[in-house]
Symmetry: C2
Subunit: 210 residues, 2 copies
DNA sequence: GCAAAAGTGTTGTGTCTACACCCATGT
DNA sequence: ACATGGGTGTAGACACAACACTTTTGC
């Protein structure tokens, strides 16, 4: 049996992402990701949630566990990273840095942020995770801005609507948004049909026979 | 700072999968997954490889870290699970149990095996991981048997070949397999073009504009 | 010639992109 | 009327599933 005094520190870290002002932003605590050491009796996920407190994401999932013995030069420390997503209309306290303009972060925290963004970008395409970045109700062009900021490339509102409605991810609420001062047809309001994550694009190409 | 005598044990576990005799099998150490406690100076991945020794998988990737404080009733123990894949033509020592006929495993090891199988099934569809389950050279029907065992459903040899060749995942070696005693056209031999994992099905539906 | 196994041709379907066009509002 | 923003119609590209058909072998 290993000497219990010679065990690594274990921290849980959160990459909490939100789109605001047309930019994908990450929550920072100074030059660190929020998080801290795992306590007895809690899971990694509850540790992450404890450190986030009231800044509760609409979706949380595990990303990866980093174990390079030199990742923290001070001490032997493992880090389990989580991805958290916050709807665009919530204003939460804290330091929200654009992911494209990160300050220098401690240890491997910068790499962990990019891993979180990569996971989000992939899942926006084949799941309904968008629900965790969007307000409860929104127009297609508002949703489009969120997708553009998160994906980092242009998205056609026409096709975004059709893809998500065809898949049953979005449904119209029946409501409408008033036109702006400059006119234009009032936009229909939509919501996500489910606020539980699900795979909506069955990309499996080697499907079971019908 | 936390009292270092009050830190959890941390083990790395391996879900090593191989197709043999038309079945997907997992390497067991008795009623446990192979693995053991992380040592100072090593990463989780090197810990896994150390415990596997000569039984070296063609592909290794991290699965997930389990942290339920009661997962091991004896002691506070985190487990980071890895997926390893071994080509069908290698005969490695050890106890290889069919995944569909697992014995009762300790703690959450059974659930971890199923998580590994789920990861494999997903990645067989949109990456070239097949290389890690297949021999260096093979016929399409040999590859088909591997896919059938791993995916758990029928796969058409015709379409398997076309999908993988179209994507550039497979290439003909030029060689042929002799016909069996019972006749039949000799089968062409193929190899995987790359033995590095890569995403081959760009399922991203919200693609950047051309 | 016949059975067996491998491989190709072809048709149909579903999902996506792109772009033209139509709709509803404010000034 | 016309500008502005929202929404629909439609055609083309592509990848895949299914299945008929052809090729190459052993007996």
């Amino acid at each position: 049996m290993a000497d219990p005094t010679n065990r690594p520190r274990h921290v849980a870290l959160a990459v909490v992402l939100q789109v605001r002002d047309g930019r994908l932003r990450v929550l920072l605590d100074g030059n660190c990701l929020p998080g801290g050491e795992l306590r007895a009796g809690e899971t990694l996920e509850s540790c992450v949630r404890r450190h986030l407190g009231r800044r509760e994401p609409a979706h949380v999932e595990q990303l990866e566990t980093r174990s390079d013995p030199k990742r923290n030069p001070q001490t032997w420390e493992l880090a389990s990273a989580y991805l958290g997503l916050v709807p665009a209309d919530e204003t939460l306290p804290g330091d929200w840095s654009p992911v494209t303009r990160l300050p220098r972060l401690v240890h491997d925290h910068g790499a962990i942020v990019f891993a979180g963004r990569a996971r989000l970008r992939a899942k926006l395409s084949y799941t309904n995770v968008g629900f965790a970045l969007a307000p409860a109700e929104f127009t297609i062009s508002e949703l489009r801005e969120i997708y553009v900021a998160a994906l980092g490339h242009d998205v056609s509102a026409t096709n975004l609507q059709r893809v998500l409605v065809r898949r049953g991810v979005l449904e119209p609420t029946g409501g409408q948004r008033e036109s702006g001062r400059t006119g234009g047809r009032p936009a229909a309001l939509f919501r996500f049909s489910s606020r539980e994550i699900a795979i909506t694009d069955q990309f499996a190409v080697l499907r079971p026979p019908a």
